[in-house]
């Protein structure tokens, strides 16, 4: 997909595309665009059009500016660079080399978009237009073939034919659970009732994931087109897009897109003369992770506390206001127009036997190329992390990758060659989830990581059912004890027992999956738990209570900086005397470690054992730098 040039704007004109996703906007990309526009007009370059796009997914390299048709990719552009791009590149034809992307492995400068490893190995279907078109112009979307799938279904296909096409494509829900989409639609279609609803779930609450935000910001029309097709297939005349309030830009662009679609009669009464009526409302979430769960989400739309209820009845039988309802994730809906246009067989040829098509991951953490990637199902974790992701930052060692966020699990290095698909991830104890993928290195403590996720799920537990409300609390208390040096033998077994009971007995997906990070970290990194419990040691040096700070006598210059900055006056020593930390006073805040001048690096962290030769009391400085 990426390799094919878009056939729009093939009129010999240059396009300068400035990314205006959330990431790049935070680094002043709007200003960059206005300077580019100003300089282009001042230079009288009438064949050059400056425009903005949504997220390219490579936010870490932002602000990003792309020049077409040469396909030049500029990274980390500053406002001051805009003038040089206009004069050197657009006027004199000499691209600005110092702004090229540099490969983190080879250090080589890569001038063009499609030669960058991060993009080269991707298959972009869901993200096909993100970064390519202006998300606030419906014309841009239509020029790339947008709304053709809708025309096709309304003029040539019956709802039943659409459902069989989606079933044949093998598409499974991209929100986490992976339920077959065609089947979900069929259940709702076959439910008795005049009034039915379709909901787009854009309540991306998973910390460490931003795929849905990028799609809504970068290509809202593709989601709306998917939603209209889904509505037609199940027989819904009304729909909702439930978006997180934390995503203001996505909300703004979605509202613009809906208005434009209404003006073009793609939404509203008698769509494209087909007698089919459909209206869409935007509902803003108010900050509750549990609202990603279908029944909680519906309660929230109805103006209530977002608490899940037991199923059955399933939403397909009794959903919003008791009517049959289908809820699909953003990425599921964004896949629909492509499947309709290119056919189910084509789509099913991508991926593995049971997991078809592509999947979007938000690759983050200690990774060189952090960003959004879309890959065919079935490629290995190694390919994703080391080839597309460029490996671990600062040449450190890979430790684990967390998929599925707080509901998923961590996978160790032994699983790097496993294929990415629903079944493999599930059998490893994790889930596909909605697409968060956080990479960790040797400096990450897996017990602390489990504690971190459980702190989140425990706080987000709605409190309705006991196993989740109290089970996660008990598990968290044990994990806090372990990370603070109060772990007891038998804690691991107790955690496992509690985890199984929370998993089996919780009412909804939140509780049923909350123990996954704990169970997988025990499964793959049990030695780290033992180390914390038995030796009171954290080898990653992350658990503050288990880490002590020491000043090395052969490095300390007696400069007094750490002594002055210490909030509890735990550093003893005078000028030109080797400082000593009073371990009884020390609160392990690490300020001395941060402020010791890098040329001395005299403060060290230790866990479990004390470094040798640490004096008891200050002694005169011997070392000279």
């Amino acid at each position: 997909m990426m390799k094919k040039k878009l056939n729009i704007h093939s009129d010999g004109h240059h396009r300068v595309l400035v990314c205006q996703g959330t990431g790049c906007t935070s680094s002043r990309s709007e200003e960059i665009r206005s300077v580019l526009e100003h300089e282009v007009s001042r230079a009288g370059l009438s064949n050059i059009k400056v425009d903005f796009t949504g997220c390219h997914g490579f936010c870490q390299q932002g602000p990003i500016v792309v020049v077409e048709p040469e396909d030049i990719f500029y990274a980390h552009v500053k406002v001051e660079d805009a003038t040089e791009i206009v004069h050197s590149h657009l006027k004199d034809g000499k691209p600005v080399e110092r702004l090229f992307y540099r490969d983190p492995v080879t250090g080589e400068a890569i001038p063009t978009y499609h030669e960058i490893n991060f993009y080269k190995k991707q298959t972009r279907l869901i993200l096909r237009n993100c970064g390519q078109i202006n998300p606030e112009k419906i014309k841009d979307y239509i020029d790339t073939g947008g709304y053709e799938a809708l025309k096709k279904v309304l003029s040539q296909m019956t709802p039943g034919e659409i459902i069989s096409e989606i079933k044949k494509s093998g598409l499974r829900g991209r929100g986490g659970a992976g339920f077959p989409t065609g089947l979900k639609w069929e259940f709702c279609r076959n439910s008795p009732g005049e009034q039915k609803y379709i909901i787009c779930n854009a309540d991306e609450g998973d910390p460490g994931a931003f795929m849905d935000r990028s799609v809504m910001e970068g290509d809202p029309h593709t989601v709306i087109e998917g939603l209209i097709i889904a509505a037609y297939a199940i027989g819904a005349s009304e729909g909702y897009i439930y978006l997180r309030a934390e995503y203001p830009l996505a909300i703004k662009r979605t509202r613009i897109a809906i208005k434009q679609a209404e003006e073009k009669q793609l939404l509203g009464k008698n769509i494209l003369g087909s007698q089919f009526d459909f209206t869409v409302h935007v509902k803003e979430g108010a900050g509750a992770f549990v609202c990603g769960e279908e029944t909680a989400l519906m309660a929230s739309i109805q103006g209530r506390r977002g608490m899940p209820r037991s199923r059955p009845p399933f939403p397909a039988q009794s959903g919003l206001w008791g009517k049959p309802t289908t809820i699909n994730n953003v990425k599921t809906l964004a896949s629909i127009p492509v499947i309709i246009s290119k056919g189910a067989d084509w789509y099913a040829s991508i991926g593995t036997e049971k997991s078809k098509g592509t999947v979007v991951f938000a690759l983050t953490g200690k990774i060189a190329n952090a960003g959004l990637v879309e890959i065919p199902m079935g490629i290995s974790l190694r390919e994703l992390i080391f080839e597309i992701g460029g490996g671990i930052l600062e040449g450190k060692r890979f430790k684990a990758v967390q998929t599925g966020g707080p509901s998923g699990g961590c996978l160790s290095a032994s699983l790097l060659d496993s294929p990415i698909d629903y079944e493999t991830l599930a059998s490893a104890g994790s889930i596909m989830g909605s697409g968060g993928m956080v990479v960790t290195d040797e400096d990450t403590c897996m017990v602390d990581m489990a504690r971190f996720f459980l702190t989140f799920t425990q706080a987000e537990s709605c409190g309705k059912c006991i196993p989740c409300r109290w089970g996660t609390k008990q598990m968290l208390d044990i994990l806090v004890d372990i990370t603070e040096g109060r772990g007891r033998p038998g804690d691991v077994e107790l955690l496992q027992e509690l985890a199984e009971s929370v998993k089996d007995n919780s009412l909804c997906g939140l509780g049923q999956t909350a123990p996954n990070p704990v169970l997988t970290s025990i499964r793959y990194f049990r030695d780290e738990y033992e180390e914390h419990i038995v030796e009171k040691r954290c080898s990653a040096m992350q658990c503050r209570a288990l880490v002590s700070y020491y000043i090395l006598p052969d490095k300390c210059q007696g400069c007094m900086i750490c002594a002055r900055k210490c909030p509890v006056q735990a550093v003893e020593g005078d000028k030109r005397m080797v400082h000593v930390i009073d371990q009884d006073k020390c609160i392990n805040c690490g300020i001395c470690f941060d402020v010791c001048p890098p040329k001395y690096s005299a403060v060290v962290k230790a866990s479990g054992a004390k470094p040798s030769d640490i004096p008891e009391k200050p002694v005169p400085v011997v070392a000279k730098v």
């Binding site: 910390p207 103006g303 953490g365």
Partner: protein
Amino acid sequence: MENPSVGQDTQALITNQESAVQKSLNEILHSYEGSQDELIPILQQVQQVFGYLPEPAMKKLAKFLKLPESTVFGVGTFYAQFKLVPTGKNIIKVCRGTACHVRGSAQILAEMGKHLGIKPGESTPDLEYSLETVACIGACALAPTMVVNNETHGQMTTKKAAEVLEQLKGKK
């Protein structure tokens, strides 16, 4: 619903606001029909206008939507977005998402707390600053991040975060 940690000055401020609340609330409610699914959007708008959910506004809203006050209060306390006490003029949110966590957001949060002299969830006594955490703002490739008055700052270090705060104080 009154918060014991709110000082006397603030309490006076709240009383002064009561009549203003009535007036602004009438304007807000004017554009709604009174259907119960409008509760969350109305609360969102009330908070946008006042910075928090004043008690008289919630009571009036309950009447308008023909809901028990407890239901309105229940929704107001369920969602993380809603605040029941006034917040500072400047809101500093430190992202505590996973990607930010592994890249050291706990230190950023501690640094901000140290500079402002408050804990997450609190406001300075002069109501100039509030410190909050957010579960994830979805700018994970820029981790660690913080949001100051709706402006996102990425790739923070404790030093850069302190500079952002200094700049904000300078603007005051």
